[in-house]
Symmetry: C2
Subunit: 375 residues, 2 copies
Amino acid sequence: MHLAFLRDYHEALVIALARTVPTLERGTVAEVTGLTPQAVSKVLARLVEEGLLEPAGVRRPALGKPAAVYRLVPGSRWAIGAHVTRRELRLVLTDLAGTVRASAVTPLPDDFTPDQLLARLADGVTTLIADHRLTTPVPDGGADPSRVLAGVGIGMIGPLDQAAGTVRGAHRLRHWRDVPLAELAEKKLGLPVVLDKDVTAGVTAEAWRRGPAFRDAALVVVDAGVGAGLWLGGAAHRGAHTNASEFGHAVVQLDGPLCACGRHGCLEAVHERAADPAAAAAVLATGVVNLLQTLDLGHIVLGGADLLRDGEIYREAVEHAVRTQLPGAGWLTVEVSLTSLGTDVVAAGAAMQVLNTRYGLPDPAGLRLPVSGPG
Amino acid sequence: MHLAFLRDYHEALVIALARTVPTLERGTVAEVTGLTPQAVSKVLARLVEEGLLEPAGVRRPALGKPAAVYRLVPGSRWAIGAHVTRRELRLVLTDLAGTVRASAVTPLPDDFTPDQLLARLADGVTTLIADHRLTTPVPDGGADPSRVLAGVGIGMIGPLDQAAGTVRGAHRLRHWRDVPLAELAEKKLGLPVVLDKDVTAGVTAEAWRRGPAFRDAALVVVDAGVGAGLWLGGAAHRGAHTNASEFGHAVVQLDGPLCACGRHGCLEAVHERAADPAAAAAVLATGVVNLLQTLDLGHIVLGGADLLRDGEIYREAVEHAVRTQLPGAGWLTVEVSLTSLGTDVVAAGAAMQVLNTRYGLPDPAGLRLPVSGPG
DNA sequence: CGACTTTAGCAACGCTGTTGCGTTAGTACC
DNA sequence: GGTACTAACGCAACAGCGTTGCTAAAGTCG
């Protein structure tokens, strides 16, 4: 029965709108979604039933019957996000509105194993559940639909297979070849787990918080390396082998300095050899303009611990480059900003990916083509 | 009534499948689409009714009742594509299968005006309609649904506003500032018209012919400039201002030679100064690897008159670069090929964009957000 | 207090895909 | 030559989505 797709899609549309604006009304929702007022009534009723929305009084128009006003219940659904780096595990608890409600950092042992990570992850998740009195999703949702923990998201460095939830081999971590991390974590935690690359998770955080106007964008991150999480056409772009975002290994200087990846003049290699933050920022800015030329993005968000240390310098350098290096017609508007989530972006984004799979816009089912060759 | 979306979506799914495989059966379609056999029966019946499919005998299984076999009727729908360059107008007629059935080239006057283009376009379209006895779409499709011309696609250099169908200002053509070309052509021709950037149209041609396995790909074109049409996640990527694909103006050599665009070391500038085709191909290949690092594409298609002149040299250079410059794990497979459509890619793609809007996968309606500031 | 405006919501409906089940067209076996 | 079996077909009833039509509700205005 594929009518379920329509229902989920329209519910997701309303939730997306509710995240963006303070209050909702039947009329305005109908206008924005293109649904009839009657249909909106039904959708709103379902969402109130599920506890995602609540009535918020009435608006009295100059003439006529008062309109019922609704608003999102941010505390009705929660998600936990984990950011795994080579040194530490950062956990974040977010609500349905995308607000970070708690965060915690645990150091990880040198060259840690999957089991070591899973143990610390389970510890942290258990603590968060207890501290915030979260409900785990009930099989047949008869129970109280509030404070429900939707699942756990994990953002980490690649390469990894996002669809399968498998880490192919984290750079400079020996125990991480073909680890089915999502599956292992689901078993250990008893919760749905979503795995993704760090920067892709990060850009999801920005998208979830900014709403539908954020259609084509990149989160450019500098943190012991350079990467760019891509949000294209209103969805995360992961690529053919879910390995997109290795933006730092694009060459910006032919015959430039040798990079760890074996090529010469990668953005990352040139960037890390810059004399000072201003020069480094200028190099990154050129890379960002390259991205804009190729992809025509509307928003550039900057993040990552190393970048945020000199955040304003980077932001200004990128904004300047955008203004001066792009064929600056009036219609080519690009918004450049620093992430409002600081060093929590990736963890927060991982959490929001969980919310996004459940309460975001679903993809219509495509063709399940028989796979020909092996991977 | 949004059930129409489901219907169109499933019909488009079946058409996409029919384009890819020689014959269809109820059972296999059901398996691939996830629909029940009954639903597939209804979809197939509708498509036969519309003339898009026809019965093609039966397949006799080892046991049981023979299965009804269907196939696409390529001649049931047609589209005309136009490729506008600074020197000439290239017209192409394609059928529903994406096969080029006719093509014609007309020179254009120096610094031609919109009217001059429209006149030649109308001439060419009229000739093609007459020569191939095409039907124009009937308002209320009671008539014979065969040999229907779905519309006309136009591919040309930007910048342009694809959604509005407006040319913002074609490079080095003085009479082309804010010309509502799609609207003008629709009036002149009495047919639906779709406008898009040349390389974006081109990649649509490849996608339409290759089917759903072609999910993340680029058409890299060298033709008095370097560009890349992007096909991401199964759809054309146009970007926030429908200005994506200016890949040639990504910097690959900081402090390199001055480019026409004002920056230094653009791929295009470095490429055109290369000593010989082999060196030029190597430069382009590096750019392609940059694209792969950032976007993780599964297919790279090469095209454009200047590139195809030394096609094999370019193809080998790119393939070599992909093998040696990417972190060559076994799972990172990239298929590199020359376009099978030669210099007709863009025109053919423009035609297929028309077919794609009518018979391709529809986008679910999003939120019609009120626009805030002016452009 | 009645006319008017705006919003809400019940009830019937249309259309989609689904389910259940009988039918059809063939092979295999005795 | 009949019976069992298999695989695909297709009618009919159904469920669930949004839509349409209409009535009711809750205000303001004169």
